[in-house]
Symmetry: C2
Subunit: 155 residues, 2 copies
């Protein structure tokens, strides 16, 4: 997969978490083991398509543990975590993944278009890997980890 | 939301289920209650973007109970449900939602592009509604129900 694309999504994730959710991402690394399954409690999904042709299509999944999703959204809304409803968490994570994809898009000179985000919540759900090229970036905030899965098909 | 688009996705869902998974969809209706939350055990998500401009973007979620997802994929692969691994179910439902989106796209004269599908599995997860326009179509096969949520933002 294009290194520029992976870098754009990785940097966008770090910057959006820091700026919008006050969460510093301590480190990130690409998980090379293609067999590794990833899980989340709150996952934001967004698709992307090539702007000029039909050559590229892909999708990203931001998969978070519930504790980190709550922390991020509470910070974004400047309210206490105890006040959060499930809808707030879904809206907030949808906004976050939308900003990450939008920022990555602008880092790639707007070479692709992004779809509307979808957010799914449910404890310990599993994120599927389709058979196209996949990169998983593992991020760490203190002791918590979260993932960004990037799937891409280039024709 | 554009009636043609809703019809295209509804018909595509029925046709793909019948043709690819041997599952007849007995009836369908649009759920008008915007407050209704929908849940799935296996959900396929796919984004779409306008082909010619940046005016339309959206996403669909096909949310299935596990029993129906297994039945569909076992039929697609012509194997017994007991032989299915989680990866088979994720791949199969990814293919199904991809075919539904592709068929709906051709019914709409290829006016939009579709992203790669993402599949999430986890018992009774909740599908978020972002704040854009949303239509939920409820389908029935015998006593089982499943949902297609269509989200659209038109600029």
């Amino acid at each position: 997969m294009d290194k520029q694309l992976i870098d754009a999504f990785t940097k966008a994730t770090q910057e959006v978490f820091a700026m919008m959710a006050g969460i510093e991402v301590g480190e990130n690394k690409i998980v090379k083991d293609k067999q590794q399954k990833i899980y989340g409690d709150v996952s934001g999904v967004i698709g992307f398509t090539d702007k000029f042709s039909e050559n590229i299509n892909g999708s990203i999944v931001l998969a978070l543990p519930l504790s980190l999703a709550k922390k991020a959204v509470a910070n974004m809304l400047a309210i206490n975590e105890s006040e959060l409803e499930e809808e707030d968490i879904q809206d907030g994570i949808g906004e976050l993944v939308n900003m990450i994809a939008g920022d990555a898009k602008s880092k790639c000179n707007n070479a692709f278009k992004i779809s509307l985000p979808t957010v799914i919540t449910g404890l310990h759900h599993s994120i599927g890997k389709i058979k196209e090229e996949i990169v998983i970036v593992k991020f760490k905030n203190n002791e918590e980890t979260f993932y960004l899965q990037i799937s891409l098909e280039e024709k």
